[in-house]
């Protein structure tokens, strides 16, 4: 709204802009916004009379209509080829991201496969967290937020953990330096251990001694794991947090991802939190956000490999993956496996099983898709083949 007001103000001062805006107003529904903006700018720079401008806009509209995908075009096949062919150029090696030092993020073909397979968790989950105005300009404050997010377990601050067979107790030696750096006190650790309710907890100098109630070697072994993994601070799943300066603000990058928990942390900008775990985005922010994330992630992979794939192909894939309201993978358990046609499914994988199942269930095939019509040798419903003829019978007495 504010934008419109500003425009009318500018128009008053400039009759040429008014003229252009009047010309373009008829095309608002016909042309995309980006084209209109571009036309407005270009027309303004040229010295033309109204008639010439009108002709230009008309021509642009014609060219736009000509550029649209025609009905019956195999847009999906074109998208598959356009992403698949450059995909063969990608190195199979997992590349490591040079942008964030010390943090490895899967890229290249493995990452692309991960995205279209709709894996529940990516092999290297990572988050990008921006901070609020109060915290983003100071390293001290950014580190403070980071310490709230980074998960600290006993194993991160312990020098050693040993089981004393004589007294049947665990001796955990805490590294004081590290503990101090992470802002954790010995007492706090002891209290956390007490809450585990496994036995008596005592503090002896730098050591914490736990005397478990059980002595069975099996349970002791498992207990050791539990103690080491006890969370003292931070968010579950976030193994490491790196503070990085980007421009004039500090940004946090994490190893591990937990979107719903990070959103609750004080000092972050919750509206700019990003994770590469797409299913987590779908769960917390909804399917539409997941769609944008798929586009962003897939396009980023292709772009980083220097492959020039048109974004619209990637958008089509993301649309197909999210059109049922849930993320579907492109493959056996998703798009290809849910096809309604038996023959199309049989053509994809495990042919005999699909045919047998269909036969025993008495399934029918309406022969509406491309694959099944290729199999039976009919013309396929693509291009000119999509046109079907329906007859409308005259009503009685007419």
């Amino acid at each position: 709204m504010a934008d419109k007001k500003a425009k009318t103000k500018a128009e008053k001062e400039d009759p040429k802009l008014t003229l252009i805006n009047n010309l373009l107003s008829g095309y608002v529904d016909k042309l995309p916004e980006s084209l209109i903006t571009e036309l407005r700018e270009k027309l303004y720079k040229l010295e033309l009379n109204e008639e010439q401008m009108r002709k230009i806009v008309e021509e642009v509209n014609k060219a736009y209509i000509r550029a649209l995908v025609e009905p019956g075009e195999a847009a999906g096949t074109v998208a598959a080829q356009s992403v698949g062919e450059p995909g063969t150029q990608m190195t199979l090696r997992t590349f490591h991201y040079a942008g964030v030092r010390e943090l490895n993020v899967t890229l290249g073909l493995p990452r692309l496969i991960e995205i279209v397979d709709a894996r529940r968790t990516p092999s290297t989950p990572t988050m990008t967290i921006r901070l609020d105005d109060e915290h983003k300009y100071s390293l001290e404050k950014a580190k403070e937020v980071a310490s709230r997010i980074e998960r600290i377990a006993i194993e991160n601050i312990a020098k050693s953990i040993e089981y004393d067979m004589v007294n049947s107790s665990f001796i955990i030696e805490i590294d004081e330096e590290i503990a101090q750096d992470k802002g954790i006190e010995l007492e706090y650790v002891a209290r956390a251990l007490e809450r585990l309710k496994v036995g008596n907890v005592e503090i002896e100098g730098n050591n914490i001694i736990i005397t478990p109630t059980t002595t069975s070697p099996d349970k002791i072994k498992r207990l050791r794991e539990r103690i080491l993994d006890l969370r003292l601070k931070g968010i579950k799943g976030i193994k490491r947090v790196l503070v990085q300066k980007e421009g004039d603000e500090y940004v946090l990058h994490t190893d591990g991802s937990n979107l719903s928990a990070v959103l609750q942390v004080k000092g972050i900008d919750p509206h700019k939190v990003y994770t590469n775990n797409i299913s987590e985005i779908a769960e917390v922010l909804g399917i539409e956000a997941a769609r944008s994330a798929i586009i962003k992630e897939a396009f980023q992979v292709l772009d980083q490999q220097g492959l020039d794939v048109d974004m619209r192909h990637v958008i089509l894939i993301a649309d197909l993956m999210t059109c049922t309201g849930k993320i579907r993978q492109i493959g056996r358990h998703g798009v290809s496996g849910e096809k309604s046609s038996v023959l199309a499914r049989a053509a994809f994988e495990v042919t005999v099983k699909h045919l047998l199942d269909a036969a025993s269930h008495g399934e029918e095939d309406a022969l509406e898709g491309v694959t099944e019509n290729v199999i039976v040798g009919q013309s396929i419903p693509l291009g000119t083949g999509v046109v079907e003829l329906f007859m409308r019978f005259p009503k009685e007495g007419a």
């Binding site: 084209l35 609750q264 004080k266 900008d269 509206h271 922010l285 994330a293 059109c323």
Partner: protein
């Protein structure tokens, strides 16, 4: 602390629930049934915030890199 509002997250586009008349007009222009639109589940966080019920149609104003702004629709389904 900034209060988290899901509708303001940078990944979430603008949503509006269409009125009955608007849905009818949409059906007429494209010659489709509501189910032919892409779906969104009732359990989707966005539907919960907006209070959308199965049968509603949501209008989505996406910021597209290709077209500047693009408009899409989703049909609310149970589940």
């Amino acid at each position: 602390m900034v209060k988290f509002d899901i509708l303001k997250h940078e990944l979430v586009p603008k949503f509006t629930i269409l009125s009955k008349e608007e849905v009818e007009a949409l059906r007429q222009t494209y010659g489709i049934r509501k189910e032919h639109l892409p779906w969104i589940r009732k359990s989707d966080p966005i539907c919960k915030v907006l209070g959308a019920k199965p049968g509603d149609v949501l209008k989505i104003e996406r910021n597209s890199e290709v077209a500047g702004k693009s408009i899409a629709y989703r049909y609310v389904v149970p589940g």
